[in-house]
């Protein structure tokens, strides 16, 4: 019996091909737009976190608890305080890196400017920070170099190039002055503003310059998958025996970035809500028409003894099939576009790029292939369809065969 009903529902859909086609395409089109918008936003979210977070801040970072609001060399760590190998073994952790970050006045002749100083481990960081791709001139560092990499913007400002020397002056450990002369080994180009004044040197040399041998400012933990963050955080917390250590997620380190991204995601939610509202009205309109069109038929069926529950079952099946086909098409049509942009993100140029950088994001446009975005939005459409269908349920419950058959 049920099978017959499902067959009936299926045939009902195709009684009016044009309408079926229009309804399906309106659902599919709206889902397509929403998917595109949301996948693009979540991709941006993910991409920005990966780029700004994974290399410099870390999904998770361990610091001395005093370093949290006082970022000075006195508040650094030593390797005796943490067992890094144990953390490396935790599932989901793709890398553990010690970092030395500070700042110094960089000058030559009349020109001096403050720059962030980054002590990096050339063996791992060249890849992690994508320095190989960002190198515009010269060569990358090797671990024992007594040399620095600077940004192209700094080179323009100081009018220097590879082979020239810059003076660095900052504060070292326990009141020492950190001052040194370094030759430039290479020039880097970063798109986002925060990196515009940045000096890179081997971590060993940075520790030496700051009179802080074997100390580092933080331990950066990279993850295989950002979704594992809460679980990994718990595991690491267990390993941290020293009460002076503080484990923080990137969200705690950079609350501004987190909120900026959330705001962006929320604005997307509002736009999706508007589109869904319009889709909802579209579906509701279809349902109202469907009922009016078949009022007579429903009356006849009811009069010859078809139960109300059966009528409701057939109609609901029909509507469910209709919206499912729409959802399926929406996903299928969106997929190739999303897949393409996922593999080939567009790099923006010119003023548009500057405006995006001005907002603190990287000037790239791409789309994600996040399963939960596909599922959540598909489900949203089905729920909207279900809510709209309640109209026909009420009408069918109250159906009066005699009235309905009067044309």
């Amino acid at each position: 019996m049920r099978f017959t009903f499902i067959m009936l529902a299926w045939r009902n859909i195709w009684r009016n091909r044009k309408r079926a086609f229009l309804t399906i395409s309106s659902i599919a089109a709206s889902l397509f737009f929403v998917l595109f918008l949301r996948q693009m936003q979540f991709w941006t979210y993910d991409f920005n976190i990966k780029n700004t977070v994974s290399g410099s801040v870390g999904y998770l970072q361990i610091t001395d608890s005093s370093y949290v609001d006082e970022k000075i060399i006195d508040n650094t760590l030593t390797s005796d305080q943490i067992d890094l190998n144990k953390i490396k073994e935790i599932e989901g952790v793709s890398g553990v890196y010690t970092k030395f970050q500070s700042g110094a006045l960089v000058s030559t002749g009349l020109k001096s400017r403050f720059a962030a100083v980054n002590g990096i481990n050339p063996l791992t960081d060249n890849k992690l920070l994508k320095l190989d791709r960002k190198l515009k001139k010269g060569t990358l560092l090797s671990p024992d170099d007594k040399a620095i990499l600077i940004t192209e913007r700094m080179a323009d400002y100081y009018k220097v190039s590879v082979g020239d020397t810059l003076v660095l002056m900052g504060q070292g450990y326990h009141g020492y002055t950190a001052a040194a002369l370094y030759p430039i080994k290479g020039l880097l180009s970063f798109s986002v503003g925060d990196f515009s004044n940045m000096v890179f040197m081997p971590i060993k040399e940075a520790q030496y310059m700051h009179v802080a041998e074997n100390r580092f400012t933080h331990v950066l933990i990279d993850l295989e998958n950002s979704n594992d963050l809460p679980e990994v955080e718990k595991q690491i917390q267990k390993e941290l025996k020293d009460p002076l250590l503080k484990l923080r997620t990137w969200m705690e380190v950079l609350p501004g970035l987190k909120q900026g991204l959330e705001l962006d995601a929320n604005s997307g939610l509002i736009i999706s809500a508007i589109l869904y509202m319009i889709v909802g009205f579209g579906i509701f309109g279809t349902i109202v028409m469907l009922y009016n069109e078949r009022k007579f038929e429903f009356g006849v069926l009811s009069a010859i003894g078809t139960g109300r529950s059966s009528l409701i079952f057939i109609t609901m099946t029909e509507l469910f099939l209709l919206s499912s086909i729409g959802v399926l098409f929406g996903n299928l049509v969106a997929m190739p576009f999303l897949y393409y942009l996922n593999n080939n993100p567009i790099e923006l140029g010119g003023e548009a790029a500057k405006a995006i950088i001005d907002q603190g994001f990287e000037p790239y446009l791409g789309t994600g292939m996040f399963l939960d975005v596909f599922l959540a939005n598909s489900l949203a459409v089905l729920v909207i369809a279900a809510i709209a269908s309640t109209y026909i349920i009420f009408k069918l419950i109250k159906i009066n065969p005699i009235e309905s058959m009067k044309q």
């Binding site: 970022k71 006045l105 028409m289 500057k354 907002q359």
Partner: protein
């Protein structure tokens, strides 16, 4: 013609529920477009406004070499003549000449690179309204010989409070490194982390004491009529070609571009919303035609011309736009009035917004022409929306149509 319009109007109301749904969805579509537009315009304009009034002024003057070299010797040329002409210019409200250099700020709790501005407190307050954003202290009014005004973000980073000491290091014109201790006399919050974290103000006299002169690197100007800033900048530039005179739009193109980008984003969103609406309109009209096959067949059989039938259906579609559009516009207008006065609270995102210079309270704004643009847009859309269904109608065969149930 009149008859056709009348028939179309009545046709629409033969099924009031269905028509109402379409009209309501059009109204909501328009309303949400206005809402988004008003919100984004308010957000972006407030940011630009804030930056002009608290951070950058309407027009800025630098030496032509300032952006290239950017060191302490790139001072403004011919400063006396320039000052004289600025003073006598009637379109200028006020101007402030500043000493500006990169400095390295150190406190016992940290270090930061900052832009050191040596200013005349009175002139500066006439151009910028930063004194309205003081959290503590005064705008450089202090008994101290070396007072300094710092931003909230910098104060947080370096753990500065009122009367805290902060050391500034910079290179003087003779390539000597100078360093001097200043005492915090005030803390401001312009609500933009980039500015609050990297800008410090000191009185010109302190610069005089430290390096023996006050080189001027930057002049910021407040105009009497903000909209004429571009023109005025070009005017001054013509008279003083030895310096670089730029309106904020030229100096900070990324801020100006943000406004433009928002505009195009809004058009794209509007088009997506209209596209979604179009499906609804076409769907509804197609339905109503298939329902009326018999009737349309009779109309054709009794001699109604095909293009009259098409016209009738296009008019039906237009009714949706003509009724739904104004309702949406009215709703939108009321929303604009409400949130334009009361503001829309986004303080839940306070820090994220502030780090990019946005205000957490957004006052909606919309250029009036958008009401007209949106109305025309929706009328055009409903007109187009009537075409496909009307084609179905004219393709009917009268005999078959009459026979159908």
């Amino acid at each position: 013609m009149n008859t056709i319009i009348k028939i179309a109007w009545r046709n629409c109301w033969r099924n009031p529920l269905r028509t109402s749904i379409v009209i309501l969805s059009i109204a909501l579509g328009i309303w949400s477009s206005i809402f988004l537009m008003g919100f984004s315009t308010g957000l972006v304009n407030q940011r630009v406004d804030k930056m002009i009034h608290l951070e950058i002024g309407d027009i800025q003057i630098h030496s032509t070499t300032f952006d290239v070299d950017g060191d302490i010797t790139n001072t403004i040329e011919n400063i006396e003549a320039l000052a004289k002409s600025l003073k006598s210019n009637e379109d200028i409200h006020s101007y402030s000449a500043r000493f500006k250099t990169e400095a390295y700020a150190v406190s016992p709790h940290g270090q930061m690179g900052v832009k050191l501005l040596g200013v005349d407190a009175i002139a500066e307050q006439q151009v910028l309204n930063l004194e309205t954003r003081l959290l503590e202290g005064t705008f450089l009014e202090s008994d101290n010989t070396y007072p300094i005004l710092v931003g909230k973000k910098l104060a947080e980073e370096l753990h500065l409070r009122m009367n805290s000491k902060i050391q500034l290091n910079f290179t003087d014109p003779n390539t000597m490194q100078v360093s001097k201790n200043f005492k915090v006399c005030g803390i401001f919050s312009a609500g933009n982390e980039a500015f609050d974290g990297t800008t410090v103000f000191v009185p010109k006299e302190t610069i005089q004491r430290i390096i023996g002169s006050v080189p001027i690197h930057e002049i910021i100007i407040k105009t009497k009529n903000e909209t004429q800033a571009d023109l005025l900048a070009a005017n001054i530039q013509q008279k003083h070609p030895e310096n670089l005179i730029e309106s904020w739009k030229t100096r900070y193109p990324e801020i100006a571009y943000g406004v433009e980008m928002m505009d195009s984003t809004m058009y794209i969103l509007m088009s997506i919303i209209i596209a979604a609406l179009l499906f609804g309109i076409i769907n509804t009209l197609t339905m109503s035609i298939l329902e009326r096959k018999k009737e349309l067949g009779i109309l054709m059989a009794v001699g109604m011309k095909k293009w009259n039938i098409r016209l009738m259906i296009v008019f039906e579609s237009l009714v949706y736009g003509i009724v739904g559009g104004p309702i949406g516009i009215l709703l939108g207008y009321l929303t604009m009035q409400y949130f334009g006065n009361k503001g829309f609270d986004l303080s839940g995102f306070g820090e994220g917004l502030e780090s990019f210079g946005y205000d957490p309270m957004v006052y909606f704004e919309i250029a009036p022409q958008y009401y007209i643009i949106y109305t025309l847009y929706i009328l055009f859309a409903t007109f187009i929306g009537g075409f496909y269904p009307s084609r179905i109608a004219t393709k009917l065969n009268p005999i078959e149509a009459i026979r159908s149930i």
